[in-house]
């Protein structure tokens, strides 16, 4: 596209400036972001390729787990109630691992925001990434900013309709692929893809593909910067993570002003470096003028930095009129005796960042410990409460319990049960899937399954507790020394 600073004034006016002329009640003013090349644009493209590649391709990773198990590396199997992550299998009982990951993600977000400002918004947020992709497609089909503006001002024609139709078709294809990829995290990707096209997939699959197709198309194609400015709650409370030491996109006012047009050969004395080319406004995806200072709409994408770098190179002034900087450093430069000489070093180590980093380490350590200590055998005990206890004909008191033993391993397990807290108790198992002696049978639990057993605990009349007495059930596996226990109570008459 080459260097072109001849953006017309009336075209590159920030939204704020346009709205200032209008009453409070206005509909949306469309933003026509202009293409720009540069360092930050390259980084944004790289991040986009990486993130979209991960998103679209991860469901297709295969992982051999043997028979009777899915061969998809990452699969959240809602029907089978298991989360498969390579060799890790998460049961519904362990959903706290997912909670932990979400806590880690939000702490990571806080940490990154306090260090680098709105780096999430500008580079990695799905809204930003897909909007970038949609804008790229739009540019390929309808041309760059000026062409699109011209085309939109003209009445509808066959060529214009064809371009618009092609653009929306391309958007819908991308949106459908996005919705499809979402579904593939929950069902087997290769078989479901074929089923989707044959019309054999479940209603749920079509519903969610449709839902995410619609949201992607509407949010990235139509809503765009309105999502960030009006819908998203994150920028509102993100302000709490930022301070004067956070890296943000800044316009170096002390150097740029007074701004004005500059002809080649004119002196640079008594004027600022800003030549008012308005390229920074033209490239902004949210339609703001960064020279107005910090604004709620700025997502920190850095494209205005690329624009300004281009212009500064062209007029042969030093780069960095618009640059990443901290507010503290900007203030020092602005207020120093010789403007631009003041300096406040960037301090990445601040109480705020240390706190976030500490929390991040703490939660990671807790997660890691929980993961390493996670047991692949678990026991839960439920006491029958109707009736609370049974008095047998010889006066003995009996309580009954339902034992559920989780065997998370992929092989059959044999557990023995013992009871603590009631020395005189006799255990009897009702019709259990057991082998071994009747008094101490070993309970058979199938691979990757929950075994349910009913056990009757009988205590002689004399040994029966008054009211309820805490007891502990224990199961242990003879062969592999796996253990699990669960607390319960034994209820006797009286009190």
């Amino acid at each position: 596209m080459g260097i072109d600073t001849k953006v017309r004034d009336d075209e590159a006016v920030s939204l704020a400036a346009q709205k200032a002329e209008l009453p409070l009640y206005v509909t949306r003013i469309k933003v026509y972001p202009r293409a720009i090349a540069g360092q930050w644009r390259r980084i944004k493209w790289a991040v986009l390729v990486l993130l979209l590649g991960l998103y679209y391709l991860v469901p297709w990773l295969r992982w051999d787990r043997g028979p009777n198990a899915p061969s998809q590396a990452i699969l959240i199997d809602l029907d089978g109630r298991r989360g498969w992550f390579f060799d890790v299998v998460i049961w519904p009982q362990e959903v706290y691992f997912v909670t932990g990951l979400l806590i880690l993600a939000s702490l990571g977000l806080f940490f990154a925001s306090s260090l680098f400002g709105r780096v999430w918004c500008g580079f990695t947020c799905p809204q930003t990434v897909w909007t970038d992709l949609f804008m790229l497609v739009e540019r390929w089909i309808e041309g760059d900013r000026n062409e699109r503006m011209r085309s939109d001002r003209q009445p509808m024609s066959a060529a214009k309709a064809a371009r618009k139709g092609l653009k929306h078709a391309a958007w819908l294809v991308i949106a459908a692929a996005t919705g499809g990829a979402w579904v593939f995290y929950y069902v087997d990707a290769p078989t479901t893809l074929i089923k989707i096209f044959r019309g054999e997939a479940s209603l749920e699959v079509y519903t969610f593909v449709g839902l995410f197709t619609a949201t992607t198309y509407v949010l990235a194609g139509w809503a765009r910067e309105q999502v960030c400015t009006y819908m998203c709650p994150w920028p509102r409370f993100q302000a709490a993570m930022l301070d004067e030491q956070s890296l943000i996109v800044t316009y170096q006012k002390w150097r740029g002003e007074p701004r004005g047009k500059h002809k080649a050969g004119d002196s640079w004395d008594n004027r600022g470096d800003c030549v008012d080319c308005r390229l920074c406004v033209a490239v902004c995806p949210t339609g703001i003028d960064i020279r107005d200072g910090q604004q709620i709409e700025c997502i920190g994408c850095g494209l205005c930095i690329d624009a300004c770098t281009q212009t500064m190179d062209k007029v042969d002034r030093p780069r960095g009129l618009i640059r990443w900087d901290t507010l503290a450093n900007q203030h020092a430069k602005e207020t120093s005796a010789v403007k631009g000489t003041g300096r406040v070093a960037w301090r990445p180590l601040r109480p705020r960042t240390l706190l976030y980093a500490g929390l991040l380490c703490l939660v990671s350590a807790i997660m890691l410990a929980a993961f390493l200590l996670r047991s692949d055998a678990e026991l839960t005990v439920q006491r029958d409460r109707s009736p609370n206890f049974v008095r047998l004909s010889n006066g003995d008191i009996r309580n009954s319990y339902t034992l559920k033993i989780l065997n998370k391993r992929r092989e059959e397990a044999h557990f023995r049960v013992s009871l603590e807290g009631l020395p005189s108790a006799v255990l009897a198992f009702v019709g259990a899937d057991t082998d071994g002696a009747a008094e101490s049978p070993s309970l058979v639990v199938h691979p990757d399954a929950v075994g349910t057993f009913r056990v009757l605990v009988t205590v002689p009349a004399k040994g029966a507790p008054m009211g309820s007495k805490p007891i502990t059930f224990q199961v242990h596996e003879a062969s592999q020394a796996r253990r699990a226990s669960h607390d319960a109570v034994f209820v006797g008459p009286g009190r």
Binding site: R385, P387, V390, R391, G395, R398, S400, V430, G431, D433
Partner: protein, 286 residues
Amino acid sequence: MPTKIEKDTLSGQNTTGHEWDGVRELNTPLPTWWIYTFYATVVFAIVYCALYPSWPWLNGHAKGMLGYWSRAELTQELDAQAKARAGFVDRIRTTSLADIAKEPELFSFAMAGGRSAFQTNCMQCHGAGGAGSHGFPNLVDDDWIWGGSLEQIHATIEHGIRNADDKSRQSMMPRFGVDGMLTGAQIAAVTDYVLSLSGKAQATPEGTQIFQEQCAACHGPDGKGNQELGAPSLADGIWLYGGNRDAIYRSIFYARNGSMPPWAGRLDEATIKMLTIYVHALGGGR
């Protein structure tokens, strides 16, 4: 007063042409999308009324062109369920009770089926957990009036107790007081004897004698009962109608002849078998 319809400069909307004391009203029509959504719902309602049951008549209702009937849908679902269960149900029907209890898969099917049949048909008298209540036996303990083996439980469920069924369990306790067979004092003496069996009172020679003459035939000389006759044990701590002096006195005076309906005609064979397995496994089965 109507004024001229003019364009409002601030909002760009037309006014309605109405003015009250200088206050003019903007004509802000409903959004187009709203209007069209409204029209679409009207069309939907008309089509729906034509296709589905909708309007009530005095006798019945409009059936709709599709002939849709939610009960038919339910019947279809129930049939599909029955079909899915058919394999297990057939196996239950053809397998003996003892063998069902030995097969883990069949046993857990029978337990689930028995539980649901119990909650529908039995819990009204015997309680949700089978603990019974006054006059309705506890099925969780080890005390059985008509026997606690699989076969005995099966026979009790199938034909019931003291009803018109030919094979129903039959027996009858005489109304010693009402029919004047024993005087009040004699009944009190027997009551003492019955209480003495569980060590709660001192037996008198008179009470002992009357018990052996009048009661021992069914309840046994030692009072331990007879399951063949449905005569409960009087020597344990379990009382169907209460174990205090007053309750026992009344049991002898008025007699107790509780009954239970036969289930053979109401529940199918497999369901009765599953109920038997379930009741047997509640904790008291022998």
